[in-house]
């Protein structure tokens, strides 16, 4: 597993306590998991997606990632409706291990963009990890 100083935590996304990230892309927000999350989970073998059109509250479970011997639930960083899922991950879940930031999981139409501002930046997230 990576040491904390080996983690890749880009500054252009925001983070949650549950190790998801969110990034505004035009009118939608892309959601994925952090380098820390993919590293902890190890080889990801399956992504359980929500359906396009489903709506979730901030912090609500919207899917899960599976490794061989663990399941990690995914919680939505901000409320909204799922407008797209990353179909590439269905056949190649390992893409998340390869680059967890390029390989987003879902795209949402946010219900309240101000929730985005409440999320942690990279520095705050690192502080949390250092505990």
């Amino acid at each position: 597993m990576k040491e904390l100083n080996e983690l890749n935590l880009p500054a252009n996304v925001r983070y949650t306590e549950d190790h998801e990230w969110a990034k505004i892309v035009g009118s939608t927000v892309r959601i994925g998991v952090s380098d820390y999350a993919q590293d902890q989970l190890g080889d990801i073998v399956f992504v359980e997606f929500p359906e396009v059109g489903d709506s979730f509250e901030q912090g609500e479970e919207f899917g899960s990632l599976e490794s061989v011997k663990a399941v990690s639930e995914l919680y939505l960083p901000l409320s909204g409706e799922i407008v797209a899922i990353n179909e590439d991950l269905a056949d190649s879940p390992e893409l998340i291990n390869e680059d967890p930031y390029v390989n987003w999981i879902v795209e949402i139409k946010p219900a309240d963009k101000s929730e985005f501002e409440e999320l942690m930046n990279a520095e705050q997230y690192m502080d949390m990890l250092e505990g």
Partner: protein, 485 residues
């Protein structure tokens, strides 16, 4: 140190069944037709499955070769924690195969099958006497189904009291199946953290137990191999709030003839006949998970229940409060006969001795290995002891590497990464049927492996090299599932 048993013998290759055979071969005789051959109407007729055709010797060689790639208790030490891999006596197999018993049909009237009913009746009595409970059912097919039966009895009991409960307390040192079994009864598991000694804490239980909680599921001895010393106080708290205490008896092998579960405050418990009572695990089953209860819960047990009137045994169906059936017939009957045979062979004194020796073996391993492996809870243990790989972290050697290296030396690895409360757990349960010299050799082998970890960890990373296969790619298996050939 004597030479470890691990070696690579003459192990044959063998393809999959359908990669061999020739159309038209037959592996068993089929009687000639003595009635006119008939065929079903065309609309219903099917072509039959695409199976390979093999001769008898094709089948014999196929499975004989496969068996040589396997390791069982008869092959060597199998110290899987929580699994009680004791010797499986051969006479048990013979008794279960007694022709009149093996051929008994389960739907015939009681008068025709007195022998098979008698075995059930007597086994029920024996299990009651061994646990200290008041009544038993033999129907559950395995420990997990026993748990489900127990939870359904909880539900039925609370309903009979006009109370609806929706939570269940489950200690973090309980078996992994417990939450899944409780979930089928709509009980939300509430985790109970164990204390610094690895024990259930009375105050913690007191804080969590309320009148919406159905009760608690306790594994005792727990999965750290420790006897829950506060069990009576815990049971009193649960009972005071109207709850019930479930005892997961998977670890009964430590306490036969020593502990009376009803005195501990346990209301419902299951036994694993395939652990404590020496029936073989069969590479995954069948097991048997009889459930024993205290008097007040006897009316909820599954139907039918064997009763004895004078010299006659009968199936009693008349029990309106019963939770119903959990098995199509009488449970994994053949397994029940094997346990019956074991109990009769052992008798009371030897059952107690078995528990004493199982506990002696585990404590002996604990004492001899605790300098070399980290022992998170250094207290007298019951039938198993739990170490971790903490001391090996700096060598970049993990529990899995130690486990895989044991294979090369001819030992089945212990249970690893369970219980979850111990990070990198190595859970060793030797059982009473292993003698001192074999245990010494096993301990010496672990010490040797830990030495290898310091000097040449690559030996551990590469292990196993002596088995039929090297480490298998479980990630590939899960990413691209191939479940059917």
């Amino acid at each position: 140190m004597k030479t470890a048993p691990g070696a690579s013998g003459l192990i044959m290759n063998e393809p999959l069944l359908w990669e061999k055979g020739k159309k038209g071969r037959k592996g068993m005789s089929i009687p000639a037709a003595d009635v006119p051959l008939a065929t079903p109407e065309a609309a219903l007729a099917g072509a039959g499955p695409d199976f390979p055709d093999l001769s008898e010797i094709d089948v014999i060689r196929h499975y004989t070769r496969l068996s040589q790639w396997n390791f069982g208790v008869d092959t060597g030490l199998y110290p899987l924690g929580s699994c009680t891999m004791k010797y499986n006596p051969k006479t048990n197999e013979k008794q279960a195969a007694t022709p009149a018993i093996a051929a008994a049909h389960p739907m015939l009237d009681d008068e025709y099958v007195q022998g098979t009913l008698r075995i059930m009746y007597e086994l029920q009595q024996y299990l009651i006497n061994i646990t200290g409970m008041a009544a038993a059912t033999l129907q559950p097919s395995a420990g997990a189904q026993g748990e489900l039966t127990g939870m359904l009895i909880f539900d039925a009991y609370h309903k009979s009291k006009g109370s609806k409960r929706n939570k269940i307390l489950i200690p973090d040192t309980a078996h992994g199946t417990n939450p899944a079994s409780a979930a089928l009864c709509g009980y939300k598991p509430v985790p109970v953290a164990s204390n610094a000694e690895g024990m259930l804490d009375v105050e913690t239980v007191k804080a969590l137990m309320d009148e919406e909680t159905a009760g608690i599921m306790v594994t005792n001895p727990n999965t750290l191999g420790l006897f829950e010393e506060n069990i009576r106080a815990v049971a009193e708290i649960v009972h005071a709030k109207g709850g019930l205490v479930y005892g997961d008896g998977a670890n009964m092998n430590a306490i036969m003839g020593i502990v009376d579960l009803s005195k501990c405050g346990v209301d419902v418990m299951h036994l694993n006949l395939h652990k404590t009572f020496s029936t073989p695990h069969g590479g995954g089953g069948p097991g048997a998970g009889p459930v024993c209860v205290v008097e007040k819960l006897a009316r909820f047990l599954p139907i039918p229940h064997v009763k004895k009137d004078g010299d006659t045994y009968r199936l009693d169906w008349d029990n309106p409060d019963s939770i119903g059936r959990v098995h199509g017939y009488h449970g994994n009957y053949g397994v029940l006969v094997k346990a019956y045979s074991y109990i009769l062979s052992m008798g009371a004194a030897n059952l107690k001795k078995a528990s004493q020796l199982a506990v002696l073996n585990a404590n002996y391993i604990k004492e001899r290995l605790k300098g070399a492996l980290h022992l998170p809870y250094d207290r007298p243990c019951m039938h198993e002891c739990v170490f971790s790989d903490e001391k090996q972290h700096e060598l970049k050697v993990a529990t899995l590497d130690i486990a895989k290296r044991l294979i090369d030396y001819g030992y089945h690895p212990p249970t690893v990464y369970f219980p979850l409360v111990v990070h990198g757990a190595i859970m060793i349960e030797p059982t009473e049927t292993e003698c001192k010299e074999d245990i010494d050799q096993f301990i010496d082998t672990i010490l040797l492996i830990l030495q290898e970890a310091k000097e040449n960890p690559q030996l551990l990373y590469d292990a196993p090299v002596m088995a039929k296969r090297k480490r298998l790619d479980e990630t590939l298996a899960a990413r691209k599932p191939c479940l059917c050939g």
